[in-house]
């Protein structure tokens, strides 16, 4: 029993700093997705110019939001509401905004699938097209030979 209490106390003692470290990482991560609205065109945590009218307030809001909620999307939505939709420069990871993240990789997957089909068709072609089917002028053959030579030793 005594051991269990000791473990509990130890866990609680460790949980505080761990949460703080976790929040700090979240703060850095979210700060890298929000743009300062002063017109400097910089990310919030990068905007440190003296006299910036907005960054100090936005940074304190970010600290407060990170402490208040575990949901990063809620934090980003808070900034969208407070400072405008263009403040957050990275799409979210849920709902419609998730499409932005999926699209590039869907494109790549589609490309891989098409490539697999093309390669499969090429490799399973019964025989190569006969040279006689493709009537090339000897000069063009010379050009092709030159191309071969130019891309080999």
């Amino acid at each position: 029993m005594k051991r269990a209490v000791q473990l509990l106390i130890l866990s609680l003692a460790l949980a505080g700093p761990l949460t703080a470290a976790d929040n700090n990482a979240r703060y850095e991560n979210l700060g890298g997705k929000i743009m300062c609205t002063c017109g400097c065109g910089q990310m919030l945590l990068k905007c440190n110019h003296v006299g910036c009218p907005n960054s100090a307030k936005m940074i304190s809001q970010l600290h407060a939001q990170v402490a208040a909620t575990d949901n990063d999307d809620e934090v980003l939505n808070f900034f969208r509401r407070e400072w405008g939709i263009t403040t957050v420069v990275e799409p979210g990871h849920h709902g419609f905004e998730l499409i932005a993240w999926i699209l590039p990789f869907a494109g790549l997957a589609l490309g891989v699938a098409l490539l697999a089909i093309v390669v499969h068709r090429w490799r399973n072609r019964p025989q190569e097209a006969k040279a006689s089917e493709v009537k090339l002028d000897p000069h063009l053959e010379t050009l092709r030979a030159r191309a071969r030579q130019e891309t080999e030793i």
Binding site: V89, E90, A100, L115, K135, D137, H139, R144, E150, T151
Partner: protein, 684 residues
């Protein structure tokens, strides 16, 4: 003068339209009368260049002579503007830049039409396609964005040029980009003409290979100059912000790069014909899309100075191009039959396939991210911003994979590569890159510390792999010739390169690309600091200390400026004085930053005059340490050198040139290389 300019534009449009219409008639008639029509169309096309040149000269003359009766001159120049920037006014506004585009296109078309003897029939159809593109742009400058609009009241001075554009690189950055964008019209026109004519073989590729490479080079220079301008002028410490207009220039560059690689498959093995045709179609359409994004204002961009309401014209033009390309492809797709099959998945052919796949995936990722705000507005009613963090997350892994492929591809043989030869070729480069990777860890590149460090570490390792493979290719080939020619290794490598400029020029390009990647990888270690600095105050960043020496103000007819003279010490030792400056332009009432940069191969000390504290009157200085950034610019220079080398004929070719003539079944007895010219599409 404005009337003369208007007349030249209208005359140019009439000539281009004539060239286009008679080109279509000649293409469909295929007889002697059609041939004569095609020849007259070619001549009209040549004349259109001189008409458009006349219009461009009128606008330049008006800028140099402060003719503020022309609205465009009033908007983009003023009396105090230095002469080079007055010349740059030609492309610094919407109407002028479209005129400039039309002029460049007419110039490219002129070269094609004058060199028609390279293949008279193919050039006749190509000229028709180019004339169609010319007609679109001349319609725009005549009726939608006329640069010769007249003011009802003549002002005494103009509004001046956008201050951000008053920088030497800005005089050459837009022309380079436009030369790149417009240049893709030529391979596109040749490809479309060859497809429409069912032209056998790869002649259109042989004819357009140099066009494409030169165009790609211009686009590379244009993009790099834009990046360098952003670095030197915008004062945010970076050079690439994933702005939609920056992305727009990257799109045709990526697809054009894929095209430059994949045409080798067609040239050497008669494969990927459909792919190549569509790749150049897409590249041209992306060039037009880039212009649409820049001009229409459908996306928010720092290039907003060029926006207007001519987007609808570009939408229409893009649709027409797409329809023409699809119809031409459907009608003639049987003509694009591959002559060979893929023999092995471990071969140079498959590496080209992967290279193309990854380049196009990168292109699609940039395109989807750039257009996503528009998509979100359609679907959700508001624009979701997609900025640099998104693109960095998506593009960096793709870029790293591309560098890896750049290393592996050249080690694979055509048709089939045995595992033994792959091991033999790959062992030393792989070992070297691994050693570099291990050495980097104690030097501070700890890949487990953050994702930025991991990417940076991988970039260094893969770059070493590419450099080692390129070096091994030169050394291996050089050794063969060293013994044959009884010379030293460098002599052997020189002769090797001279005998095969295209291949080894290509390797130099790869080398340049990885040098640029090393420059980009240094970003993970950037540092920055800002503080208010009175005289004698110190700002310390990394091993540098800046000491406020003096603060000056200056005034001339064009702008007023404030500058800080800062003594720079490195590890306590004086090294130089930097003068960051802020300029306030009088005509436009806009300010701009002149960055002071102490640049070494290891890092840049980049200092900007951020502003002045209104309470204390002290300047606010911001300093950045940007490691390795110089390697980016050196890499670009090496890419230019390599592309230049690849354009030079081989030593053997110089001795015995190969005469380019036409293909059997496509050319009548008169011969394409002959003096006579047959109508487009004509058969005997």
């Amino acid at each position: 003068m404005p009337l003369l300019g208007d007349f030249c534009l209208l005359f140019g449009l009439a000539l281009a339209a004539y060239c286009f219409v008679v080109g279509i008639i000649a293409f469909s008639r295929k007889d002697e009368a059609g041939y004569r029509l095609a020849e007259s169309g070619r001549r009209a096309g040549i004349a259109s260049f001189f008409a458009v040149t006349g219009a461009a000269l009128v606008l330049v003359w008006a800028a140099l002579n402060n003719d503020f009766s022309i609205a465009y001159i009033l908007e983009h120049t003023n009396r105090a503007l230095p002469i080079p920037y007055k010349l740059a006014a030609l492309w610094s506004g919407q109407e002028g830049s479209l005129l400039f585009w039309s002029w460049l296109l007419a110039g490219y078309a002129l070269v094609v039409r004058v060199r028609h003897k390279v293949d008279t029939r193919l050039v006749a159809t190509t000229s028709m396609v180019l004339a169609g593109i010319q007609v679109f742009f001349l319609l725009l400058v005549n009726f939608a964005a006329n640069p010769f609009g007249i003011m009802s009241r003549v002002a005494t001075d103009g509004n001046g040029l956008n201050p951000l554009l008053q920088y030497p690189e800005m005089v050459i950055h837009p022309p380079m980009l436009y030369l790149g964008y417009v240049g893709f019209s030529v391979p596109f026109a040749f490809a479309l003409a060859a497809l429409m004519m069912r032209y056998p073989g790869e002649k259109w590729i042989h004819i357009t290979r140099r066009w494409t490479m030169v165009t790609w080079l211009f686009l590379t220079c244009g993009i790099s100059l834009g990046a360098h301008w952003a670095y030197a002028v915008l004062g945010w410490g970076g050079y690439w912000g994933w702005d939609p207009v920056e992305n727009a220039s990257l799109l045709p560059w990526l697809s054009g790069t894929a095209f430059l690689h994949s045409v080798m498959m067609q040239e050497k093995r008669g494969m990927m014909k459909v792919w190549n045709v569509w790749l150049i179609f897409v590249t041209f359409m992306l060039s037009i899309l880039g212009t649409l994004l820049t001009r229409s204002g459908i996306v928010q961009s720092v290039h907003a100075f060029a926006q207007s309401s001519i987007g609808a014209w570009f939408y229409g033009f893009l649709m027409v191009i797409l329809i023409v390309c699809v119809v031409a492809f459907i009608k003639n797709r049987s003509h694009l039959k591959s002559e060979n099959k893929l023999e092995s998945l471990v071969s140079r052919e498959s590496s080209f396939l992967f290279n193309n796949l990854v380049l196009l995936a990168a292109c699609f990722a940039v395109l989807s991210g750039t257009l996503f705000p528009i998509l979100s507005e359609w679907v959700r009613g508001y624009k979701i911003t997609v900025g640099a963090p998104f693109f960095n997350k998506v593009m960096l892994p793709i870029g790293l994979f591309l560098i890896f492929l750049t290393a592996v591809g050249p080690l694979l043989a055509w048709r089939n590569t045995s595992l033994g030869s792959l091991k033999k070729n790959f062992a030393i480069p792989a070992a070297l890159s691994l050693i570099v990777g291990i050495i980097l860890i104690p030097l501070g590149t700890k890949p487990w510390q953050s994702i930025a460090y991991l990417y940076s570490w991988l970039a260094f390792v893969f770059s070493t792999l590419v450099i080692a493979t390129v070096a091994s290719e030169f050394i291996r080939g050089g050794r063969v010739l060293q013994s044959k020619l009884n010379t030293n290794l460098f002599g052997g490598m020189y002769h090797l390169t001279r005998r095969n400029m295209r291949r080894y020029g290509g390797y130099i390009v790869h080398f340049g690309v990885v040098l640029a990647c090393i420059g980009i990888a240094g970003q993970a270690f950037n540092q920055e600091k800002e503080q208010e600095m009175g005289q004698g105050d110190k700002l310390t960043i990394a091993q540098y200390t800046l000491v406020g020496h003096e603060y000056t103000e200056d005034d001339n007819a064009n702008y007023g400026s404030r500058a800080a003279l800062l003594d720079v010490y490195k590890d306590g030792k004086y090294i130089t004085q930097l003068t960051p400056e802020h300029r306030q332009f009088k005509a436009s009432m806009q300010g701009t930053t002149i960055v002071a940069d102490y640049s070494t191969l290891k890092e840049d000390l980049y200092v900007i005059y951020e502003g002045q504290n209104p309470d204390t009157g002290h300047p606010i200085i911001k300093a950045f340490i940007n490691p390795l950034v110089n390697w980016l610019w050196i890499g670009v220079l090496v890419v230019v050198l390599g592309t230049g080398m690849a354009l030079v004929p081989n030593a053997a070719q110089l001795k015995s040139p190969v005469t380019v003539t036409a293909a059997v079944g496509a050319v009548d007895s008169a011969g394409a290389g002959g003096a006579s010219m047959r109508p487009a599409g004509a058969r005997k």
